[in-house]
Amino acid sequence: MKFLTSIGTAVETIFNHTGLYTLTLMQLLRKLGSPPWYARQLLAQAEEVGVQSLPVVLLTALFTGMVLALQSYIVFHRFAAESLTGLVVSMSLVRELGPVLVGLMVAGRVGASFAAELGTMRVTEQIDALWTLSTDPFRYLVTPRVLAVTLMLPLLAVIADYIGIYGGYAISVYVLDQNPVVYIENTTIYMELEDFYSGLIKAAFFGMLIGVIGCTEGFNCKGGAAGVGSATTRAVVISCMSILVSDYFLTAWLFG
């Protein structure tokens, strides 16, 4: 009986949270249609999400590209197809790993920060204070954050793609002694613009997920410091899971 109750509670929680995220998204779309838009807040958040996330994104992309090149080379060497290393590295990064890894990194850094910041503002009545100062808290806090992360994630994904491909190139050419011309040719000849675009669409979608989940958890936070902690944990876990699950469906839709 206890087991069934816990399953029921879990299902109810999932539906509750999904409902909250949907409401946030609907409210966001509605409020985007009319001023005020708080451009200064949007720029500040874009700087926070984009520029401040660069180091972690660059490091992750560089080493992922390097590992991919190493692993692909070892496998392709078994049937003398080492020249395909560049293609595998670039395709994997542009279509899949670039947006997903950037999404996961940003979910950990930015999603957590959104939830913690808005959660603290909620429990210390700063969100209520905004209302009493005739400022719509949703427009001022949530809209710029969700927009910033939705717009910046594709840019981060592009940078991650380039850095990852360069990491793979560096390992293939300087460590594994592959021909640089063949590596670059194989990378560019087989790659189509569609591969690049699909990665960008995915990145923008993951950005929206991170923004909506992080902001919803923080904005609706209850229960003091413990509540802020739980909201932050939920924001990161749910964002990461949503990215991985939605990645499958997006891939099936984009390439199906």
């Binding site: 603290t120 503002m121 210390t124 009545e125 700063q126 209520d128 204070a129 209302w131 009493t132 100062l133 005739s134 400022t135 719509d136």
Partner: protein, 277 residues
Amino acid sequence: MIDRVSGKESGEVGNDTPRISIRGLCKRFNGNTVLEDVNLDIMPGQSTTVIGMSGTGKSVLIKCVLGLLRPDAGEILVDGENWLTLAEHEHLERMKRVGMLFQGAALFDSLKVWENVAFALLRRKVGRKQARERAHEVLEWVGLHDVGELMPAELSGGMAKRVGLARTICHKPDIVFFDEPTTGLDPIMSDVINRLIVRLHKGSGTTMLSITHDLKSAEMISDHIALLCHGQIHRIIPANELTSDKDPMLRQFVEGRATGPINCSPWGKKIEEVIDR
């Protein structure tokens, strides 16, 4: 004798509309009734303080008036207009006339002190230079010099409260709400805050609604005091009659007795059972 709702002397005929009129306000949380048929009128320029035990719904009352909580029933009339029927953007427009000092000051951590104080002006497209000048002027008024460039985290509790007060009045509101203005402050700083509130009230004739359980503060800053008890406004008296009023519930509250007509643990056991155990 004072009328329970209007706070006016019996027989006094006033044709002026109350600035704030709370009618039949009810609010429940998870089946627990916190406010039940609350009625209270505050006339223009009047300062009314609602006192009551912790957990009786004083903060809920003020949040309902400000639109931060949606009541289950009742009306909030401000200058005759029901704020509960307003659309969100209309409500926000009305908030331009309102100031609110929160219990913990609720300063924005990411903004400098002067930006906090001038927040409402900056949102109204007042130039930054002009807004900064006004912020420093109001900070001077609350007795704070050279703190404009500090961050809220660098302020003491008393300073934060005064900055909160400066933010509350910077845009010259004509209705001001105070949520526990002196809670958590030492007696001297409490007196400073009380005197500033009195100065504001006398100087600008602002209509004020405060909630507190600090009786000294209530007596000092109010024209009228209302006792909120068991979810309802039980009694309204002139502030100078707080210590002389004979109402048993008010007496119990003023004397700070655990036993009496006020049930100290409304959702639990009778308090006698707890303290005599």
